[in-house]
Point group: C2
Amino acid sequence: MIRLQGISRYFQVGDQSVHALDGVSLDIGAGQYVSIMGPSGSGKSTLLHILGLLDRPTSGRYFLNNRDTTDLDERAQAQARLEQIGFVFQFFHLVPRLTAFDNVALPLVLSGTPPEDRNDRVRQRLEVMGLADRIHHRPEQLSGGQRQRVAIARATIMNPAILLADEPTGNLDRASGKDVVDALEALVQQGITLVVVTHDPDIGSRAARRIHMVDGRVAEDSMPGGL
Amino acid sequence: MIRLQGISRYFQVGDQSVHALDGVSLDIGAGQYVSIMGPSGSGKSTLLHILGLLDRPTSGRYFLNNRDTTDLDERAQAQARLEQIGFVFQFFHLVPRLTAFDNVALPLVLSGTPPEDRNDRVRQRLEVMGLADRIHHRPEQLSGGQRQRVAIARATIMNPAILLADEPTGNLDRASGKDVVDALEALVQQGITLVVVTHDPDIGSRAARRIHMVDGRVAEDSMPGGL
Ligand SMILES: Nc1ncnc2c1ncn2[C@@H]1O[C@H](COP(=O)(O)OP(=O)(O)OP(=O)(O)O)[C@@H](O)[C@H]1O
Ligand SMILES: Nc1ncnc2c1ncn2[C@@H]1O[C@H](COP(=O)(O)OP(=O)(O)OP(=O)(O)O)[C@@H](O)[C@H]1O
Ligand SMILES: [Mg+2]
Ligand SMILES: [Mg+2]
């Protein structure tokens, strides 16, 4: 379902060339539960953004469901994202002027779901995240961990086939973090392909497949070849 | 050195009144190393912002070095902050248009330190944080954990008497997180008063004094009365 072939991503800063990713090849099968760990700056977020069609590689190819997405135009990328991919950003990217409720509803609005079908789904998703009494708060009226949970609710509201989560428990205490991991693993039970970037080994070790990155490369893979 | 007396902080959201802090009284002596833990939404960041003169309580008083700071005007608050307090924000608040170097130099610039005195100090601070090869990157050109370390470097550059750190390792792997904690504890050795909000029990348990918050109140304090 996901195939990365020789993916490199370089950034230019002044006369310095940063190799954020350096020749990453990876196959991830449908329904797989993968964790990605590694030192700060090792390329985890960069890899996740390419998987999420939020960034293009400098070289290499990305096949999503056998379709070469590498050269899709912006519009086609956005469409594929809306339909197939949920993304939890390391720093959430919530819309400041919208309430928690409207932030979570946004993908449904963008895909034309009528209001009466949206409301129950949004409420239920926020309840699962323990935010029932915060639905009318805007992001600046929420704690760090509450914002993180709104971002997770938004990423899952469309029941995407693929969920990419960048440090989804980084701002959560043990109990809330466990609730989030339980909710994500329930989605794996329902067949979602889940890729979680995490710094927490207790969370990373729960995945069926564990990948470690160092300096823009895959240094370890508990399931090389994806099988 | 720090005395909070009956501190409450309420927020109004529509017709809902949120009790972020509910009658918190706390004495923190000079040079103390304190950790604050508790569930997401329990009031940790709110407490830290009041301690950092970034927010005013709804009721109660805050004495800093025996001076009642509760009713200081904005200008006096800003001055006290610049001179006495370093703050590491949960979400960093770096200046997007400035490089890592200039972000860390900013407090020195604001306090009138000449360039020749600034440069070595800023470089050294960034080196300690493992960012020597990222000094010319702007925040958007840094990984999450790299931004976090720039925020920590900026908070400590003025050698403040008090350092308030909100989840300083939330986006860091074990090794970088350990480097950060080592650097902060070296400052405690030099006499700094350190208050760390954290969700990581391995980090929270290292503090000489451990406070747990629940629902806007201090639920546990390993050193009640501050002694
Ligand atoms: N836009 C950019 N321009 C220049 N360099 C960049 C850019 N984005 C990322 N980098 C660099 O690429 C490397 C990988 O960044 P990335 O954000 O993928 O790391 P990460 O593994 O997610 O780190 P963390 O655990 O700290 O979040 C870092 O060294 C970073 O400085
Ligand atoms: N500006 C605001 N308006 C309304 N409610 C607020 C505001 N800021 C915070 N709150 C609420 O106050 C409570 C405490 O927030 P705070 O940010 O202090 O929590 P926290 O302990 O730091 O949580 P976390 O661990 O998730 O960062 C939360 O329930 C939050 O929703
Ligand atoms: Mg990252
Ligand atoms: Mg907080």
